[in-house]
């Protein structure tokens, strides 16, 4: 297609500034010596303060634990589901997956809250880490299916057929021929699940118990309470770590056959 003219290139610079400047500015000011918005020199005060905060540390630990558990479970369930659907489609499961993708987080959150409350009343199951993990596995499974299914679309069925002609069972064909080739897509899906789980606030805040406060919940509370520069520091750390994970996920997702 035609090359870009100067006007559209100039516009692109503005658009990228709009997308990136807010996070960059936040990053720069997280190193500000002053507590206010005038620049008074470079300092690591707010990082020191954030690291010394016991509540932030505990919440980070909870978020990591929930993130790892949800990633392991959602990746396994979603990969198997994508493979099962690739073998033969299922209108029921596909429709439900789509529905879970378009349901607003707040609706999912209150629906899970209603379920958990009901479970509490009849089975005495309180809210806690496990309820958050289950919630995350539920809304992340559809992401895994989407990523893995995309990879399976360019995967040649004949490879499994060949394995089975040579005496492999159906299970061996899956585990030893197909699954290894899906690994990059599965890795990419796992990273996306971890990012989504680690970042979720809306659903988590509704289904978390007293012992399962996550990092986004603490940041939210701090942001609401008023100005606290250590939020800038912790936000910058999160942005940077997640950006690294995203770039890694994109690397993995690139289909080698294309």
């Amino acid at each position: 297609m035609k090359r870009n003219g100067p006007a559209i290139a100039f516009y692109a610079v503005l658009a990228y500034a709009f997308l990136h400047l807010p996070l960059l500015v936040l990053g720069v000011f997280s190193f500000n010596a002053s507590r206010f918005t005038n620049w008074e020199g470079f300092s690591l005060t707010w990082y020191r303060e954030a690291f010394a905060d016991g509540q932030l540390a505990e919440a980070t630990f909870n978020s990591l634990l929930i993130g790892f558990a949800a990633t392991a479970l959602a990746t396994a369930v979603g990969t198997l589901c994508a493979y099962g659907l690739w073998k033969r489609s299922s209108a029921w499961i596909t429709t439900t997956l789509y529905l879970s993708l378009v349901t607003p987080e707040i609706v999912m959150g209150i629906a899970l809250l209603a379920l958990y409350q009901w479970l509490f009343r009849y089975l005495r199951l309180p809210l806690g880490m496990h309820t958050v993990i289950l919630a995350h596995v539920m809304f992340c499974t559809a992401y895994v299916v989407t990523v893995v299914a995309a990879r399976l679309r360019s995967y040649d069925k004949a490879q499994e057929e060949a394995a089975m002609d040579l005496g492999a069972t159906e299970w061996q064909a899956f585990f030893r021929v197909t699954l290894p080739q899906l690994m990059p897509a599965i890795g990419s899906a796992a990273l996306l699940v971890f990012i989504t789980s680690f970042d979720d606030f809306v659903i988590t805040s509704l289904v978390a118990g007293v012992d399962s406060e996550t990092l986004p919940m603490v940041i939210y509370a701090m942001a609401r309470k008023g100005f606290n520069p250590s939020v800038n520091a912790i936000s910058t750390l999160i942005t940077f770590s997640l950006a690294v994970l995203i770039l890694l996920a994109q690397r993995l997702e690139e289909d080698p056959k294309r």
Binding site: A9, E105, D199
Partner: protein
């Protein structure tokens, strides 16, 4: 053949059934029940919760949500289309430019919203800078306004617009654009009479994604807006927490879901899906 497939599909089926469909079913049932004296749900069944939606107070929140979502979508089309065109025309740098759109989008939504609080508050960067330059005498009220909410929505969901438009522009046959130019069309004519119509499936898909995301948004109006800018999501959350009117909150959720599904019908008819 079928055994393996059964083992593969049943964990997801069980998970989605128990943790997604059953909870939605519970919410659907609650929406027809009555609020108990201490905030629980009680019989008898009734349609009162749905009738309450016609109350001018709640109707105003619904109309406002649709208005904000519509405005944010229009702004996303206006801001996103030129950038998608720029990326599609960038040759080998395409994937770099695309990554520059995707990466901030995937970093924490909460942090991105907080970044705007940092910029827009009374003592925030924008007000501090304007005061220093002497352009204003006292801080402008930027945060907790409809402006902040719509800005936050556009910022939050712009990539949902850019990606589908880029996908259609990437497949666009360059010969069509050259033909228009050869036949004497000025660049603006080519843009509006050839490129935009051919990109319309992407514009439609992007608009639906952005509109639906905005309509169900909770965090953006909660953090960037004030009491006068609450949207449906905040109203739902409020019914399940502070107000303790679960049946009404449930009815609101179902109406929100129904609206979203109705909007998605045109997309579902097209067979090319994600899965």
């Amino acid at each position: 053949m079928t055994r393996l497939r059964w083992w593969c599909l049943s964990p997801a089926g069980l998970l989605l059934g128990l943790l997604f469909l059953v909870p939605l079913g519970i919410v659907a049932r609650y929406s027809f029940l009555t609020r108990g004296p201490y905030g629980g749900v009680e019989l008898p069944y009734s349609l009162e919760n749905y009738k309450l939606l016609a109350d001018p107070l709640y109707l105003a929140i619904f109309v406002r949500s649709i208005g904000y979502a519509g405005l944010a979508t229009a702004l996303c089309v206006a801001a996103g289309f030129p950038l998608a065109l720029f990326i599609a025309r960038s040759g080998r740098r395409r994937s770099l430019y695309l990554a520059l759109v995707v990466v901030p989008f995937w970093t924490s939504f909460l942090v991105r919203t907080y970044a705007w609080m940092f910029l827009l508050r009374d003592t925030g960067l924008i007000n501090t800078a304007l005061l220093r330059m002497g352009l204003i005498g006292e801080p402008l009220q930027l945060l907790y306004t409809p402006f902040a909410v719509i800005l936050g929505l556009v910022y939050g969901f712009l990539p949902f617009m850019i990606l589908p438009i880029y996908a259609t522009l990437e497949r666009l046959d360059p010969a069509l654009v050259e033909a228009a130019a050869d036949l004497g069309a000025r660049p603006m004519d080519t843009l509006f009479r050839v490129i935009v119509p051919l990109a319309s499936p992407g514009i439609l898909a992007g608009s639906l994604l952005v509109f639906i995301s905005c309509l169900g948004s909770y965090l953006t109006p909660d953090l960037l807006g004030g009491g006068k800018t609450i949207m449906i999501g905040n109203l739902v959350q409020n019914q399940f927490t502070a107000a303790r009117d679960w049946p009404f909150g449930a009815a609101l959720s179902l109406v929100l879901m129904a609206t979203i599904l109705l909007l998605l019908l045109p997309l579902l008819r097209r067979k090319e899906g994600l899965l």
